[in-house]
Amino acid sequence: MLQLKNTFIGVFAILFAYYGGVFLSASLGLPIPGPLLGLVILLSLLFAFPNIETHTTLVAQPLLKHMSVLFVPAVLGVGMYWSDIEANAVALILAIGGTTALSLGLTAWVANKLMKKKSM
């Protein structure tokens, strides 16, 4: 019963932050996506009331863990752009394959240099 109540509070906190963000973004005509503002609202809520962490975790953890399934409808829609992908296949493979490895190496190298002094 308590679990149910806590889950309910978690759902409420996340939906409150989500709709708050969507409302702010739309009503102020901001170029920033509503859900992103929602993220900032939820983060502020967590700092203002740290005891809601357990409630939000109950809802947020399973959502985050299984978020891959939420992309399925969007990814299936990619068939519509198949001709674009085919026409630019070489560029796309280079852009995703090549530069990802390069960026990964460079970031790790810089982080290594910067963080050495402050290892935990």
């Binding site: 993220l39 969007a74 390069l102 290594n112």
Partner: protein
């Protein structure tokens, strides 16, 4: 939200939601069987299975998307939920301070710029170029950001996942080649450049790597999704 829920409680909504969830459950098992190898990412398998089911049942993709619009709608709340890992790692974030932000900024700026430049130099269409700018951030944020700047959200999802898989697969050899042994640096690079797929890989590399990857994923995602639309609304 109301629309999404109404769509769910129709015959086709219930059927396709169950089909999708079943395919996902199978994919998770397959992924576990391959010891969590990035190339067997549950999304890749789920999409193939559902795609096959759509083909066999003669269902069109837009119809399917409408039936399972609840899943698509949940992308919003899941974006909001990313606040939780940031909150949980706040101590680490304060401990490393600007060093952490500087490292993440290097990856956060380099990865999209290099990818964009490749497409630009090879003369790909503008919509593809714009979509590529969000390829290193986590999928829900990438889809929001590309929609704002005139890219293609569906393609963003594909670019992001592919980037994550490539990053996670090559990470071991890259770290060996660059002689980066510190778990903090490896974690930051994985999370910043290869987002959630990289973070899933980091889980196999230890707790410290995972914590830093989570921070890299969240901070880079947050900043990129803020800065890209702002930059475009000022320039255009």
């Amino acid at each position: 939200m109301i629309d999404a829920i109404l769509n769910t409680f129709t015959v086709s909504g219930l059927i396709w939601l169950s089909v999708t969830l079943c395919c996902y459950a199978i994919s998770v098992k397959v992924n576990l069987f391959f010891n969590g190898h990035p190339a067997s990412h549950p999304l890749v398998i789920t999409v193939s299975l559902v795609g096959l089911a759509l083909l066999l049942s003669n269902m069109s993709v837009p119809q399917y998307q409408q039936s399972v619009s609840l899943l698509h709608w949940l992308l919003g709340p899941v974006t909001v939920a990313l606040a939780l890992p940031i909150f949980k790692q706040w101590q680490k974030l304060r401990h490393y301070g600007w060093r952490l932000f500087a490292s993440i900024a290097v990856g956060g700026v380099l990865a999209p710029l290099l990818a964009w430049f490749t497409l630009y130099a090879l003369g790909s269409p503008v919509a593809l170029q714009l979509t590529m700018l969000a390829k290193s951030i986590t999928t829900p944020l990438a889809m929001e950001a590309t929609a704002q700047i005139g890219g293609i959200p569906a393609l963003a999802a594909v670019f992001v996942i592919t980037t994550g898989i490539v990053g996670a697969v090559v990470s071991n050899s890259v770290f060996l080649l660059c002689q980066v042994k510190s778990p903090e640096a490896q974690g930051i690079a994985l999370g910043t450049v290869a987002h959630a797929v990289g973070t899933a890989k980091a889980i196999h590399m230890g707790e410290e790597v995972t914590a830093m990857a989570t921070l890299g994923l969240c901070i880079n995602g947050l900043f990129t999704a803020f800065i890209l639309p702002l930059m475009f609304s000022i320039v255009l």
